[in-house]
């Protein structure tokens, strides 16, 4: 631990401007929300979205040349953290736009959703910039605690309360596991700072049995936060049980946090022990791809199906990380970002079709969507094709990237497994497309939704298509972030 210097600390604060601004904005919006009535609650939403976008601009504007550690070795800004932060902030802003109408229809348009969302986002940012085990845990807990409360947001819903309790109990267990693993790693390496840990591991601790023991616990926690099999049990229940606006939140930005968690702990901290955690991730990855894709076929609830689909996609993200090469990390980052964009859009479609007293969360609810609104059927088709990994949509490049990464380490069998299960997975995505285009509509209601939401959702889908045709820019960002 370096000696503490006030001047150095204060100069580090400028690097943390986005986090500080978002924290202050969250507090300010919490207080402002107390002063306004329920009929003007959309102001809270508008302010929150504005705060997120300003934070995104601030995060993009922080000037760094190479990784910089600040705030007494707790905080790290590098190209990866900047890129992930901007994506997470913009995605949360989009999530808020999608959520407003849904919450208004259910009478749960409350400021707390947005404030909790802002603080959860702050947790994501802290986690992304973590340079010490303490900061990792701090960010993760801030994120998780907000998510638990958000899942139980619809207080009168028994299902939401049930899934919140499941999420809370399992999540606390995972956090405890993470802390236990961290304490062992601290005991073995003698430091909480990831940089020092990395040096200690490189210096011959890689085969230390205590370190392996600690890594196993970290992997459990990372697997849980990602929702990788066999730590996936919370995902389907939480996705199905919580209000769709919360499912949208839980299913999008926290995946970026989980990716950052894995990168910071495993790569930044324990990169020298890749042989050990790589093996463990192989198991998680293969199981996730298998269970996620196969079980999703049997689902009738679209939120649950997308939950299992998340599990399978996590398997592909882990493929990139376990490769242990910079090509692998880049492809995993690319996969995470694109998955989050597509997931936000597909849950957004459920929110668009839902209306007062109608959730639109069964797969049948999408029957004949083409007859009701060809434009939005097209948008949904784009999302589904992308999730299935068909060219020319973005999901294709993401899958291609991680498969190339595992081929790069000569793990041909992993690549074969990945391709096989993505073929299995294509079935249930294409079933939704088939229902939209070839089945009779069971529901004739007009597609509602505010003009803003329709515009953002369309932009979201077109972005998926555009990035699929020209993925170069995003690939460059990822390559720059993880050289």
């Amino acid at each position: 631990m370096n000696a503490f210097s006030v001047a150095a600390f204060n100069s580090g604060l400028t690097l943390a401007t986005p986090e500080i601004f978002l924290g202050l904005a969250g507090c300010g919006i919490l207080l402002l929300d107390l002063l306004i009535g329920d009929e003007r609650r959309h102001w809270t939403a508008a302010l929150s979205i504005a705060a997120l976008l300003i934070t995104a601009v601030l995060a993009a504007g922080v000037e760094v040349s190479g990784p910089v550690t600040a705030l007494g070795g707790m905080f790290l800004v590098d190209a990866m953290s900047q890129a992930l932060k901007v994506v997470a902030l913009v995605i949360v802003a989009v999530v808020f736009v999608y959520s407003i109408e849904y919450m208004r229809h259910r009478g749960i348009l409350k400021g707390e959703y947005f404030v909790l969302g802002l603080f959860a986002t702050l947790g994501i940012l802290v986690l992304i910039s973590a340079a010490s085990l303490v900061t990792v845990y701090l960010g993760l807990e801030l994120l998780s605690l907000c998510l638990y409360a958000m899942v139980a947001f619809d207080r009168d819903s028994g299902r939401a309360a049930e899934s919140a309790i499941k999420f809370f109990v399992l999540g606390s267990l995972a956090s405890g596991t993470l802390l236990y693993g961290m304490s062992i790693i601290y005991g073995v390496t003698g430091s909480l700072e990831l940089g020092t840990i990395a040096a200690a591991v490189q210096g011959g601790l890689a085969t230390n049995i205590g370190l392996l023991f600690g890594i196993a616990f970290l992997i459990v926690a990372i697997g849980f936060k990602f929702g990788a099999v066999p730590f996936h049990m919370w995902i389907p229940d939480v996705y199905e049980g919580s209000p769709t606006c919360v499912t949208l939140f839980v299913g999008s930005a926290p995946k970026i946090a989980a990716f950052a968690l894995a990168m910071r702990l495993l790569v930044d901290g324990l990169g020298g022990a890749h042989v050990d955690w790589g093996q463990m991730l192989v198991v998680l990855s293969v199981l996730s791809m298998a269970v996620g894709n196969v079980v999703a076929i049997a689902q009738t609830n679209l939120k649950r199906m997308l939950g299992y689909s998340t599990i399978s996609h996590v398997g592909y993200i882990l493929l990139g990380i376990l490769a242990g090469t910079s090509q692998g990390y880049q492809s995993a980052m690319f996969y995470t970002i694109t998955y989050v964009i597509v997931a936000a859009g597909s849950f957004g479609m459920i929110l668009l079709l839902s209306r007062h007293g109608f959730e639109a969360d069964r797969i049948e609810d999408f029957k004949g969507l083409n007859a009701r609104s060809p434009w939005f059927a097209g948008m949904m088709a784009i999302f589904m094709f992308s999730l299935a990994g068909l060219p020319p949509f973005i999901g294709f490049w993401a899958k291609l990237g991680v498969i190339q990464a595992v081929l790069g380490i000569n793990a041909v069998w992993l690549a074969v497994v990945a391709v096989l299960f993505s073929v299995v997975g294509a079935f249930y995505y294409l079933r939704v497309v088939k229902m939209m285009y070839f089945d009779e509509p069971v529901d004739a209601a007009r597609i509602d939704g505010s003009p803003l939401m329709r515009a953002v959702l369309s932009a979201n889908a077109l972005l998926v298509l555009l990035l699929g045709i020209a993925p170069g820019a995003l690939l460059v960002v990822c390559a720059h972030a993880l050289p």
């Binding site: 006030v6 507090c27 919490l30 207080l31 107390l34 049995i209 392996l212 023991f213 042989v275």
Partner: protein, 118 residues
Amino acid sequence: MLDQYLPILIFMGLAAVLGLALFTIGWFAGPRRPDAQKLSPYECGFEAFEDARMRFDVRYYLVAIIFVVFDLEIAFFFPWAVSLRETGTFGLLAMLVFALLLVVALVYDYRKGALEWD
């Protein structure tokens, strides 16, 4: 590779054996002379007043949560107060930020009516 995990297995086995052993020794070696008085449930030395599985008013939880926040705050304030001479202006400002966050929480609690008992 896998043989490196052997110590973990031994550790887990040892933990199980030790736990069981202590339990068994206590069971067999300890004196056990139960009588009706010893076995009867009691509450602070008295006969039990009622079933322990009763419902609590949800407001107790609210008070408990607020208590935890402001109790922990004291744990941070004491060391800060005694070391203020060393930490100086920086310490003062840092604690002001911390206190401000708690004030925001308190204002929120107050306006939402969490501090009203009825």
